[in-house]
Amino acid sequence: MKKRYSMFTPWRHFKYLFKKPLTIPFKDIFTKKNADYLNKNSIIKSKKRVEESSPREAADNLRGFHTNDWEECIGCGTCMDICPTEAITMAERLDVEDVSGALQQRPIIDYGRCCFCALCVDTCTTGSLKMSKEYIYTHENPDNFLLMPEKLWQGHVVKEGWVKDENSDLLDLERVHMEHEDPEERKSSFVEIVRGYSKEYAKQEAARCVECGVCTASCPVQMHIPAYIKAIWEDDIEGGLRQIYETNPLPGVCGRVCTHNCETSCSIAVRGEAIAIRWLKRYIIDSAPDDIYKKSIMEPISEVIDAKVAIVGSGPAGLGAAYYLRVMGYKVDVYEEKPLTGGVMRYGIPAYRLPDSAIDKDIDFIESIGVKMITNTRVGRDISMDQLEKDYDAVFLGTGFFKPRDLPIPGADHKDVIGAMDFLPKVRDYERGVLKLEDIDVAKSIVVIGGGDVAFDVARSATRLQMLKYGKTNVKLTSLEDQDVLPCSEDELIEGAEEGIEFFCGNGPQEILLKKGKVTGLRLWKCLCIFDEEGRFNPEFDKECEQVIEGQQVYIAIGQSPDYEYLPKSLSEKLTFERGKIKASNLGQVEGLPWLYVGGDILRGPDLISGVADGHRSAQGIDDYLFNKAKKKEISKTLKEMRLAAKEQTPGLTYRQLGKK
């Protein structure tokens, strides 16, 4: 296209005199703050130009300097992990409150490296880390480019720039689906409800973990959770198994019924669904072939330590102590009153949550490394404590809370008022074929008192027995707490409701109603409050608000109590009891009786994993005690070296001891 030119052509340029100039105004480039700074430092001399330069506000989405709300930030360090320029380091801040589910550290950003990509913001687990619209920062000291983002930027409230939204979020907040048995079908059997992850699903679930380790800090035995989850993700079952056994010899059990503090504190749970840590642990155990156990976690056990330890009770605490003592090289005998080992795992928790096969896998391995299980032997009846003291170098008691706690209301002494821990062992025995259905007396309609997991274990077990016996169910559950604050786990409530349990929560039992010597129901008063002003258990009721619920049996699941009858008087006199628990040192050693250690429910409770932790600690205590004793007696000069050698073979212990320092 050829243009034609005439002598008037240049005239057309006059039109530009009336056009807006095509330049970028100074004020669009400089902010006031920057201009002030430049002026202060004599970079811009003219006062007028500084005043002209009004702030240019950045776009709403700008990836400017970071802000981090410390109240929300949990110090997980995920921002540090993703940062492609390694600009972020986590700084320990002990002035931040030490709470479960958070670490005492906060991110520092090196703005000499940061490329403002906002990946840290998009991956922040809590959403505390954001970017502002601020983009100018000047300082004469190069060290001052290492900044710790706080809620305010340079002490000022600033406008939000890039914040994460559902599109930019780089976490996976949704749990990978877990197959459960259908409520209608599972109601008529004790088949395990949770089916477990397949390899593919387990890997997907494991891929959600950000390896922050907040969970580890909240676990009583401080399992190396991020490490074994990573092992699953890398399809390294053997590595995962090794990680697990460093801190927990009952992983198959814990993978099913642990109270999972870890999941409660999981950083993904801040905005989404916690990683299924428990089920992932279970996946490792379920998919680990037996020979891997021997190959990968059974270090050669030192046989050089000539000391014997007796363990009383084969619950989690006893088994925990036994396992770690054995790997340290001690000879360990476990005394158990019942025909099977496992304590509450074997005789309390119902099989639909924890089948025998899972317990067997864990305990068989403990046995296979040389722990001797002496069952059907009650200490205090078949063998005395004095004998144990004589025959062994140390004794560990983990006898648990096995007796039902009574409810002091009229009618409670009737034979159809049954304690949870009288009923549940029978259910387990039925499930494993020791008892027949006829041997268990379950009525057509029952009432369960209690709102914890044990109450649900009773109610849901009774549901199953009713289905098997009568083909229909009638189970009511009543508790002091309202339904939204029941102390049971959420799963129990959901699954219990699915199985048809009727709830009468927020009521206190007053009387068990009897007619012609038979239980007919329970009278309830509305519960106004459970604790008094000083926080003591002292429920108040509204008499006006009364209701009667029908039932031919009443099951009481308001807690368990210990049975110390096996302790000879001479011994129990030397012990201090506090609310049914025995007083002892942190490691479980009883004051004045250096050979005696206690753990589990009778020391701390309240759950399996705390029992394992007690066992683990006591194993270390016993080891210290026996070593010092041996040194005094100078039994063997080389004992010290041998002991150290034995310890080195116990990865779990080295880890724990490192952690203790």
Binding site: K3, L22, T23, I24, A58, A59, D60, N61, L62, R63, T78, D81, I82, P84, T85, C115, F116, C117, A118, L119, D122, T123, M131, G161, W162, D165, N167, S168, L170, L171, D172, V176, Q204, A206, A207, R208, C209, V210, W233
Partner: protein, 368 residues
């Protein structure tokens, strides 16, 4: 006459970035020349192997400063092909809008850049002012002005901000209104015209010999070979546009093609804004948090049409969280490295900067 060594750049208004051309001249005739890309952008490909698929989004745009988005696009497309995921429809259109805005910005910059070797700085100021408006739009959409880090495997990071269509339309209308003025300033300006007509021609044989693509090739061989047409990616197959061609490639016809492409890009963006559907803008690469996204084993060569020609990423995955190997085919590699060595000799000293500008030589994509 004695041969003399001269450096064109890195501190030279006609040079791009930190590249420089080392020349041996006899009078003002270049005898030998070679490019020193600056060594500032070394090791990108190696760096990519050490970053996860997601982390790489902070690195890849740096392979071209002025048009970073083609890197993001080629990388994302490659990752998506290997992972076998389908990008949401809306994301395709957003991507095209971004890519065409980037094309506009680089064409404007290079047209403005014509100002430095020809001594007409007005052109440069105008072009940079318009580019600034595009950067403002980028800032609103992506959060950044230059390295957008916005197109990522799976889609784009965020949806378009509310009201951005108006900004884009306003800019396109304004640019279109001033289009003739732009032509008058540069390519119709007799002074400029005299400098660029018949300057540093690129014969068709050379195109085939070096592997030049893009405008350089299209203006020489008169064939509309444009990846957006011949191997359409995103949703270019749904868009109506033309590929400007010429049969004689001198500096002028290359500049002319660029200016015609500006009109095409304006039209493409308008069509995208009309056709863009509602919906999601990203799907994750897989389950899990981004640092654990893996991509199945395989290799792929993914290409896009940049302002300078075929821009490709050859990517190998071994199934891990990082790419196993990435090879970048920078579009200006042939003309930038080989072209300067082979075809500058014999031309005049003051034409070297014109080659660099009209062929779009970009040092990082040569360095990588």
């Amino acid at each position: 006459m004695k041969e003399m060594k001269l450096f064109l750049g890195p501190q030279h208004p006609g040079m791009h970035g930190n590249a420089s051309v080392h020349m041996y001249v006899d009078g003002d005739i270049i005898k030998r020349a070679f490019l020193l890309p600056g060594m500032l952008h070394r090791g990108f490909e190696k760096g990519m192997e050490r970053h996860s698929w997601i982390n790489n989004i902070s690195l890849i745009p740096r392979v071209c400063v002025v048009e970073p988005d083609i890197n993001e696009m080629a990388f994302a497309m490659g990752a998506e092909t290997l992972a076998g995921i389908t990008v949401p429809e809306r994301a395709h259109y957003i991507r095209m809008i971004i890519l065409e805005l980037a094309r506009l910005s680089i064409h404007l910059m290079s047209y403005g850049g014509l100002g430095s070797p020809t001594g007409l700085y007005t052109l440069m100021y105008h072009a940079h002012t318009d580019r600034n408006t595009i950067l403002n739009i980028f800032e609103k959409i992506t959060g950044h002005r230059v390295y957008h880090q916005y197109i990522i495997p799976g889609g784009v990071r965020k949806d378009l901000p509310i009201g951005i269509e108006e900004d884009i339309h306003a800019f396109l209308d304004d640019l279109e209104n001033r289009y003739e003025e732009y032509r008058d300033l540069g390519i119709n300006n007799p002074t400029v015209l005299a400098r660029i007509t018949d300057t540093i021609p690129l014969p068709a044989e050379v195109v085939w010999e070096l592997g030049v693509t893009g405008i350089g090739m299209r203006s020489a061989v008169n064939k509309p070979y444009d990846l957006r047409k011949v191997m359409p990616y995103a949703r270019y197959d749904k868009i109506d546009f033309e590929v400007p061609v010429a049969d004689y490639s001198d500096a002028k016809s290359r500049v002319d093609c660029k200016l015609q492409e500006v009109i095409q890009s304006i039209s493409i963006i308008r069509q995208c804004l009309k056709l863009i559907p509602e919906g999601d803008v990203r799907v994750p690469l897989g389950r899990g948090q981004s640092m654990r996204w893996t991509i199945p084993k395989g290799h792929v060569y993914s290409v896009v049409e940049s302002s300078r020609g075929e821009f490709g990423y050859f990517m190998v995955s071994n199934g891990g969280v990082n790419p196993y190997r990435v090879g970048v085919r920078g579009a200006s590699y042939p003309q930038g490295l080989l072209g300067i060595e082979k075809y500058l000799p014999g031309t005049r000293l003051d034409d070297a900067a014109l080659w660099v500008d009209t062929m779009g030589v970009c040092s990082p994509e040569i360095d990588r």
